[in-house]
């Protein structure tokens, strides 16, 4: 039933309608709004999964992707279209995004309970889902960019959801502006592609790559990558993501871990033919280099954070680095595979952390501890997520991370080394998180006073509406990875259909001459063993420091023994401070400087010109009073004198007057033609003056005139 594909444009539309319905109709009713949102994403999930299932059964889909387009903007002699497409990449993303979104929508119903802006929350996440689904189904760069920015807006609104808190307000602004730096560069790249190929559709662009000069192609690649760096929080634009944790936890899970931040990776993957067009070009090297560097850089920061959500935020940055690095070394399938598995296990980790925060009312891991018995479901599910992140088989992260490492080992050993080291650090910080949160004594009890009685709050397991999505995601974390088990892996490989994931995605760009071969298992066995050893070592160090002898209340972090290194990591290498001191302050200073320049110099010149004119006119006035007016007064006196003489002629006899009249008429007739023009002129002037005078506000209520 390939017909279902023609409904692809509906997938982003359902949540958009839900958004509109909440904003205009249902927002006074919280529950109704939540159900509207869930209905919207539910319908998208239904269609999305149907498309995914259909796509799986269409072996020619990669060769001939499905398109549906509508005319949109007429420009010059061309017409921009509103277009959606389905190819294997889109199908896979659709399945992941809709499923993860639905889980998080359901979870939010419990988590956001009693929030005064409950309905608004569901409106925002519906709009977000619409943006994300628009992004993965877009068949051209303009729709992609539109969705990209709508997600950016939702991210801004949701980070600042509790905007009364200054930290949230600042974080929201920082996120929007930091990512916009990347967006502007992406925008330039998009424009260059548009005028180079006369189109924004991916198909048209990819088929015309040969006509674009190689250096320009590299520049465009880097511009697109810059957009991805902003959105996927890669170094040096990573600073916004940790602060984004000021938003509600479901938002951190949905937007800032599972979906939106992966959009950068998706963008590079979607435009991969463009990067691959320049063989051995520096564009892909940059992608790989930045990705690998970010992976290690962010993982090392995560080690020294005490806020449970910040640990996960840096972990996200680091894992996105893995995906970028994978793309950089040509591991397209590995990258998308990791994107998918990461979405599930990171959503699980965040929702688990949210469950803990919901119970503890704090984010600080050093105030937690011993929650293993109080919150068993949260504990077990979170541990599954942690093992997936660390890369322990059979959890999903193991399969995807190893595929990346195998690709890196083959194509760029340096990147492989960095990523393997990162694997060790990753296992360590996630072990630290688990041991600090769930083991040892309960380091702090929250005490509340209600009407004079003191209560000690005892943490307890979260409601079913929150634990059910946790359990669901945990099972997904176990299962999803199995889609990508190498074909020749002993026993499991053939049993699981010989790596169906790779099979499905590997041909995605075959029509542009790019195919991705799976790496034989034999070639990667040593890589697999190394990374597993690194992960186990990391877990062991974590246990040694935090699990063997759990910390007591107010006991310092053993890492503090590292001294300045610990301080550097804890302060995130002082990147924020650096940006504030240079870029932010510089821009504000510049704007203030120009502001006073405008007032003093430019406007000063205008006023000077005005004053000069006024002074000149004052000179004229003096001239007028003493010279011109003097003359006029002289004329006046003369007239008065003449008048006295003329009075003698006024006889009072009609005949005399008539005579004078006739004479003057004759005189007038002689000069009539010229005079007529003068008369008309006088009339027009009088008319205009009257109109202005009438419209001029009356002066009747001026006090001094009334008196």
């Amino acid at each position: 039933m390939p017909e279902i594909l023609s409904l692809v444009w509906l997938v982003p539309v359902f949540p958009l309608l839900a958004f509109a319905a909440i904003v205009f109709l249902t927002h006074p009713d919280n529950q109704l709004s939540a159900w509207t949102a869930i209905a919207g994403i539910g319908l998208s999930t239904l269609v999305g999964l149907a498309i995914f299932a259909t796509a799986l059964g269409m072996p020619t889909l990669a060769e001939k992707p499905f398109h549906v387009t509508f005319p949109w903007i007429p420009t010059g002699t061309t017409q921009l279209t509103l277009g959606f497409m389905v190819d294997p990449l889109t199908a896979v993303m659709l399945a992941m995004v809709t499923v993860v979104c639905t889980a998080i929508f359901v979870y939010s119903q419990g988590y956001m309970d009693k929030d005064p802006r409950y309905a608004r929350f569901f409106a925002y996440i519906s709009l977000f889902a619409s943006g994300m689904l628009g992004l993965v189904t877009a068949d051209n760069l303009l729709i992609l960019y539109l969705s990209w920015e709508i997600m950016g807006l939702c991210s801004y609104l949701l980070i600042g959801f509790w905007f009364e808190r200054p930290a949230a307000a600042n974080a929201a602004k920082k996120a929007f502006l930091t990512t916009r730096v990347g967006d502007v560069l992406l925008f330039i790249g998009l424009i260059i592609l548009y005028f180079q190929t006369g189109s924004l559709s991916f198909e048209d662009i990819f088929s015309q790559l040969a006509f674009i000069s190689a250096p320009l192609l590299v520049i465009v690649g880097l511009l697109i990558f810059a957009g991805a760096v902003g959105k996927s929080a890669q170094f040096p634009l990573h600073v916004w993501l940790p602060d984004a944790m000021e938003g509600p936890t479901p938002v951190s899970a949905l937007i800032h871990a599972a979906t939106m931040v992966a959009a950068g990776v998706y963008l590079v993957a979607r435009t991969y033919p463009l990067f691959a067009a320049v063989q051995e070009g520096p564009a892909l090297l940059w992608v790989g280099g930045i990705g690998a560097f970010t992976a290690l850089f962010a993982a090392s920061i995560a080690v020294a954070q005490n806020d449970i959500k910040r640990v996960l935020a840096y972990s996200t940055i680091s894992q996105l680095g893995y995906m970028m690095a994978a793309l950089g070394v040509g591991g397209f399938v590995a990258s998308i595979f990791h994107l998918i598995t990461h979405a599930f296990f990171k959503a699980l980790l965040f929702l688990g952390a949210g469950s803990v925060i919901h119970a503890m009312h704090t984010n600080d891991m050093f105030e937690m501890g011993g929650l293993r018995r109080r919150m068993p479901i949260t504990f077990w599910t979170l541990t599954a997520g942690a093992l997936a992140l660390a890369g322990i088989p059979p959890f999903a992260g193991f399969w995807s991370k190893d595929e990346i490492l195998a690709e890196a080992f083959l194509h760029n050993p340096l990147i492989w080394l960095v990523l393997t080291l990162t694997g060790l650090v990753t296992a360590f910080y996630i072990a630290r998180l688990i041991f600090l949160t769930f083991f040892g004594p309960e380091r702090r009890r929250e005490v509340r006073e209600v009407e004079g009685t003191r209560f000690t709050l005892i943490p307890h397991e979260s409601p079913r509406v929150m634990t059910a999505p946790l359990a669901f995601l945990a099972s997904m974390v176990l299962l999803v990875g199995l889609a990508g088990v190498p074909a020749d892996f002993p026993v499991l490989g053939p049993l699981l259909g010989s790596n169906p994931f790779h099979h499905f995605l590997g041909q995605n760009f075959a029509r542009f001459g790019i195919e991705f071969e799976a790496i034989p298992f034999d070639a990667s066995v040593s890589v697999l063993n190394t990374s597993l050893a690194a992960a186990l070592l990391g877990l062991f160090i974590g246990w040694w420091l935090y699990g063997r002898q759990p910390l007591r209340q107010a006991q310092p972090d053993p890492l503090e023994r590292l001294g300045p290194i610990h301080k550097l990591l804890k302060n995130k290498y002082y990147v924020d401070e650096l940006y504030n001191a240079t870029l932010v302050r510089g821009l504000v200073r510049l704007s203030e400087g120009l502001g006073s320049f405008d007032l003093r110099v430019i406007d000063g010149l205008v006023n000077l010109a005005g004053r000069g004119t006024a002074a000149f006119s004052e000179l004229n006035r003096l001239f007028d009073v003493y010279v011109v007016d003097g003359a006029v007064n002289g004329v006046g006196s003369l007239t008065r004198w003449l008048g006295r003489g003329l009075r003698e002629i006024q006889t009072g006899q009609v005949q005399n007057y008539l005579l004078v009249l006739a004479l003057s008429t004759l005189l007038l007739a002689a000069v009539l033609i010229n005079v007529l023009f003068t008369l008309i002129a006088i009339l027009v002037i009088a008319g205009v003056t009257t109109l202005v005078w009438v419209l001029q506000p009356s002066v009747e209520d001026r006090p001094e005139e009334r008196a």
Binding site: I73, T75, G160, G595, I602
Partner: protein, 521 residues
């Protein structure tokens, strides 16, 4: 007999203004509603124009042509095309909304106020409908006087300074324009705007004279736009003007300057514009970057928005300058590479111009809305100092939502109107004037910074400033005023075809009717 739609649209407000003078001063309600009703006439008719203008045909339509002063060859000639129709509609819409909003807020001298607004409308629409310099100039000046009084009488504390500065600055420009018009008349004996462009072509053989006339017009229009460095009258005028005055000032009066660039400067003096395109593009660049940075330095909300107008109008002129540039395409016109490249360049030019016209319309809607919003908050708090607000988001959520939407449209968020025009401008100008356009794009970033930081964050986010507890949210009339503007921002953000089809035709015709404008050598 054909109905003279354009004369009706243009002169109905004037007739209304005169009639309203006969309503007794005490009957304020009657005066208000009468003038709103009068302003609905051009609104309805201009909506009709929009719907029935044949975009596939192009060219001036709804033409009216009568002899007027045969002795000096002055015709009464009106006509509209894809450039003027949207601007006429915008004028009629903003005037109606201004009168409606003012009906609830203006307390004193209502009779004069309403009459002046109607007179102003005649002046503004007249500029867009006239196809004869004589008529054009009359309307141009008619628009000036009412605004002078609106600022000078209903304005803030420094109203006299601001009003006189506005009046004299603009007048200085128009005097130069008058000289240029007369010079063309003495050279070619005609005041006809289109004939002078297409057939008579003054000063084609004397580049010096052409340059003089070009710069004379340029100054008149650049002051009105206002282009850097002629912009300093704008913040003063805006800060002092009453709310509705600011709306029309930013929404329409600035567009008169932009319109002049499109209607007169580019098609009448193409060679001069080719020659001076780069300096003008640099001025536009200054408007964009400098305007945005200075905007960021403001602490008065109204002044901030005023400077952001300098920034936004800079995009319009950037697109124009890019389109005006002389673009060499190969050496021989007949070479095989030339036609494709020429088409591509022509496409870019048309897009830059499309973006410019669209930006004018969008800026009118967005910034017009912005000034209404400034007025709405000022009515309640009697302050515009950004530092005195804070945390209003939870206190007045509706206002917060409307202001955020407008600000997002202003910073060019895709999905809202501002983006489409900025996209087209940059798409058009980037291939033509690459370095300047690339620097100009940074303006988008600064705009986002000051709107999110200074407007949204300082006003709405953070803890509520205790001073404002109990501040009432938007009233119904305020919501009704904003609703059409928000609707247009969303509509043209998602589906700009209804306006672009028309504009696109007019801008493409510019190059085919006056071939030398295309500047493809």
């Amino acid at each position: 007999m054909t109905i003279p739609y354009l004369s009706l649209i243009t002169l109905a407000p004037l007739a209304g203004a005169i009639l309203s003078l006969f309503i007794p001063r005490q009957r304020e309600g009657a005066i208000k509603w009468f003038s709103i009703l009068v302003s609905l006439v051009p609104l309805a008719l201009s909506a009709y124009l929009w719907v029935s203008y044949d975009a596939t045909l192009g060219g001036p339509q709804f033409e009216e042509r009568y002899d007027w002063i045969p002795a000096i060859n002055v015709e009464y000639r009106m006509g509209v095309d894809g450039l003027s129709v949207p601007l006429i509609f915008l004028t009629a819409l903003l005037t109606t909304l201004s009168l409606y909003y003012s009906a609830f807020t203006i307390q004193e001298r209502i009779k004069e106020y309403c009459a002046l607004f109607l007179l102003l409308e005649t002046g503004m629409i007249g500029v867009f409908t006239s196809l004869n310099y004589f008529l054009f100039y009359i309307f141009w000046e008619v628009g000036l006087v009412p605004m002078y009084f609106i600022i000078g009488v209903w304005g803030g504390p420094r109203r006299e300074y601001a009003a006189i500065k506005f009046f004299l600055y603009t007048l200085a420009g128009s005097v130069l324009m008058l000289l240029a018009i007369l010079a063309m008349f003495f050279a070619k004996g005609s005041f006809d705007i289109l004939r002078l462009q297409q057939e008579l072509r003054p000063f084609t053989d004397d580049f010096f004279l052409q340059s003089l006339a070009f710069w004379a017009f340029f100054l008149a229009f650049a002051i009105k736009v206002p282009l850097w460095p002629f912009h300093t009258w704008l913040p003063d005028a805006h800060v002092e003007a009453p709310t509705a005055g600011s709306v029309l000032l930013a929404g329409i009066l600035l567009k008169l300057g932009g319109y002049g660039f499109f209607r007169i400067l580019l098609p009448t003096f193409p060679q001069a514009f080719h020659t001076f395109a780069i300096p003008i593009a640099l001025m536009a660049l200054m408007s964009i970057v400098y305007g945005a940075l200075v905007s960021m330095a403001q602490w008065d909300l109204k002044k901030l928005i005023a400077y952001s107008s300098v920034n936004h109008m800079g995009y319009v002129i950037l697109g124009l300058a890019a389109a005006a540039l002389l673009t060499p395409v190969g050496l021989a016109a007949g070479s095989s590479a030339a036609p494709a490249a020429a088409t591509e360049i022509l496409n870019s030019k048309v897009m830059a111009l499309n973006g410019g016209v669209l930006e004018m319309f969008n800026h009118g809607v967005i910034t017009g809305g912005m000034f209404f919003l400034v007025g709405i908050i000022y009515e309640r708090t009697h302050t515009r100092q950004l530092r005195e607000f804070g945390g209003l988001g939870s206190q007045i959520p509706l206002y917060y939502a409307v202001m955020t939407t407008t600000a997002l449209a202003s910073l060019g968020l895709p999905g809202l109107a501002g983006f489409v025009s900025e996209f087209l401008i940059f798409r058009g100008s980037l291939p033509l004037i690459t370095p300047i356009a690339v620097i100009a794009i940074s303006g988008i970033l600064i705009t986002a910074a000051f709107l999110l930081w200074k407007v949204i964050q300082l006003m709405f986010l953070g803890p509520l400033n205790a001073k404002w507890t109990g501040l009432p949210d938007m009233d119904r009339f305020e919501l009704i005023t904003m609703a059409p503007l928000i609707f247009l921002m969303v509509l043209f953000g998602l589906y700009p075809a209804p306006i672009l089809t028309m504009v696109n035709k007019a801008m493409s015709d510019l190059f085919s009717i006056v071939p030398v404008v295309a500047g493809l050598f």
